[in-house]
């Protein structure tokens, strides 16, 4: 039976030039994910599947694999290729002072509370290349709190941690970041925080001194310290409900009483099992305080 009889194909002048690239089926994606657990101990099974599938298929196309079998073999047997896979599959997009109101709230409402403790421990879980961590270091410096702070920056992608260590970001982003910085309440000349080297901006080493880097997987690793503030922004959007729940429990275990948990602009604590222990701070920003 045909639907849409009379409206169908009203306009036809295209020549269809189809490029054929290998597209993995859902079943093949499943096999790959199980291989990763079995061979490399990395578990992506509970990641949002649509984005994962898109990225794996993009990788398979870019690396010009001709068959699923060839891709599978390479991924299982070649550790260097596996490392490349993790780098490509994780979404490492980040910005300095992204969501300017969020940073303004940190600056105006959260840091003054943290200022009273003798040592401030902050955890950036899923820190990517470190733009968020350096933004925080700048806030702490301006509040004269950096000296007594430790910023733990963790990620599952070892390649991004190297970038955090270097503290070098693309020069062509600086105009945007400088605008973000000002909108978030920054009063200084943003360019005073870095030196320009060709197309790279090298951030002040003082800012990097308090950053501690570690490979940490929210899927499988456990709590490693207690913090007054944990930021995990735009990481849990890639997790299914079960994995989100695990990560949130981990953060709950790692937060001091009256500590703060900050999530990405589209993430929430609302439907989780820990929500009753938290109160949202400033109503529109995604920051919660542990109240019991």
């Amino acid at each position: 039976m045909s639907y849409l009889p009379c409206y169908n194909v009203i306009y036809h002048n295209a020549d269809m030039n189809q490029e054929t690239s290998l597209d993995l089926s859902d079943n093949e994606i499943e096999i790959v994910l199980h291989d990763l657990v079995e061979v490399h101990g990395y578990d992506f099974v509970n990641y949002s599947r649509a984005s994962l599938k898109r990225r794996i298929n993009r990788l398979v196309a870019n690396d010009k694999f001709l068959s699923f079998a060839e891709f599978r073999y390479r991924l299982r047997s070649d550790d260097v290729y596996f490392k490349h896979f993790v780098e490509e599959i994780t979404v490492n997009v980040t910005e300095m002072f992204r969501d300017t109101q969020f940073y303004r709230t940190l600056r105006e409402e959260i840091l003054p509370v943290l200022a009273t403790s003798p040592l401030i421990r902050i955890w950036h879980a899923g820190c990517s290349t470190g733009e968020e961590v350096y933004s925080m270091a700048i806030l702490l410096q301006e509040a004269r709190l950096l000296q007594k702070s430790l910023l733990y920056a963790t990620d599952i992608n070892p390649a991004v941690l190297e970038k955090v260590r270097a503290g070098v970001f693309p020069m062509n982003q600086m105009k945007q970041y400088s605008e973000n910085y000002i909108l978030s309440g920054g009063k200084n000349d943003f360019s005073s925080y870095y030196t320009a080297q060709y197309n790279a901006a090298k951030f002040d080493e003082q800012l990097g001194k308090k950053i501690i880097l570690a490979n940490h997987n929210l899927v499988s690793d456990s709590s490693f310290n207690e913090f007054q503030l944990i930021l995990c922004r735009n990481v849990m959007i890639y997790f299914d409900k079960e994995l989100q729940e695990r990560a949130l429990k981990l953060f709950d275990d790692s937060l001091e009483p009256l500590g703060f948990l900050a999530l990405g602009s589209k993430e929430t604590l609302k439907f989780s099992s820990i929500s009753h222990k938290y109160r949202q701070v400033a109503n529109k920003e995604k920051i919660w305080r542990k109240i019991r």
Binding site: S2, Y3, L4, Y7, N8, V9, I10, Y11, H12, N13, A14, M16, D26, S48, R49, A50, S51, K53, R54, R55, V91, V93, N234, I237, Y238, K241, G264, K266, E267, T268
Partner: protein, 192 residues
């Protein structure tokens, strides 16, 4: 042959809002479909858009929250700065990955993932715009048996985007101001 439909995904860029505002009043509660709208927009223009759209339709209009379950009679609007993807369990997910065609949200990303999940029960509508985003997504939708609607470049405020589509693939319905009722008739096809 495409249809009957469970979901309509609308992609629009420069000059597309007026067409969306014209389509919305036709969405009545007896049409059991879900609508996802992907506009290229800047973060700053945010808050008023949802309100503006809500006034035009009986459907509930909301910005996508991650893991929203896709329900009929709801219009889901992509948030600024996130791609929207559709999961096999008919929930929506958000993604901050690299811009596609210089855009986030990208229309291609949503069209492609909708095609993968909905196949023949997907209708994609590509409207006015100055960018080629959406065209690859329409091809994907078509390959999976979906129904492809493109705004008539001649009547679009900015013709480039729909023009790219009509040049690169066969289109099932060319949409202009006075055949929206045809589009709505398609959506009323009985479910099998």
């Amino acid at each position: 042959m495409a249809g009957p439909f469970d979901i309509v995904v609308i992609g629009g860029s420069a000059g597309s809002l007026s067409m969306v505002l014209q389509i919305l009043p036709y969405l009545k509660m007896d049409i059991p479909i879900a609508v996802v709208v992907v506009f290229h927009r800047k973060s700053s223009e945010d808050t008023t858009l949802i309100e503006l759209l809500s006034h035009r339709t009986e459907f509930e209009v909301k910005e996508v929250d991650e893991k929203d379950l896709i329900r009929p009679n709801v219009v889901y609007v992509a948030p600024a700065d996130y791609h929207v993807l559709i999961e096999k369990d008919h929930t929506l997910s958000l993604d901050v990955s690299e811009k596609v065609n210089f855009c986030r949200p990208s229309i291609d990303v949503t069209f492609e993932s909708a095609a993968d999940v909905y196949g023949k029960s997907l209708m994609c509508i590509l409207l006015s715009g100055a960018n080629a985003d959406g065209v690859q997504g329409l091809k994907a939708a078509r390959d999976k048996g979906g129904f492809v609607v493109v705004q008539d470049p001649a009547s679009a405020e900015v013709s480039y985007m729909p023009q790219q589509a009509t040049e690169q693939l066969p289109v099932d319905l060319l949409l202009h101001d006075d055949n929206i009722d045809v589009l709505i008739d398609c959506l009323r096809l009985p479910k099998r």
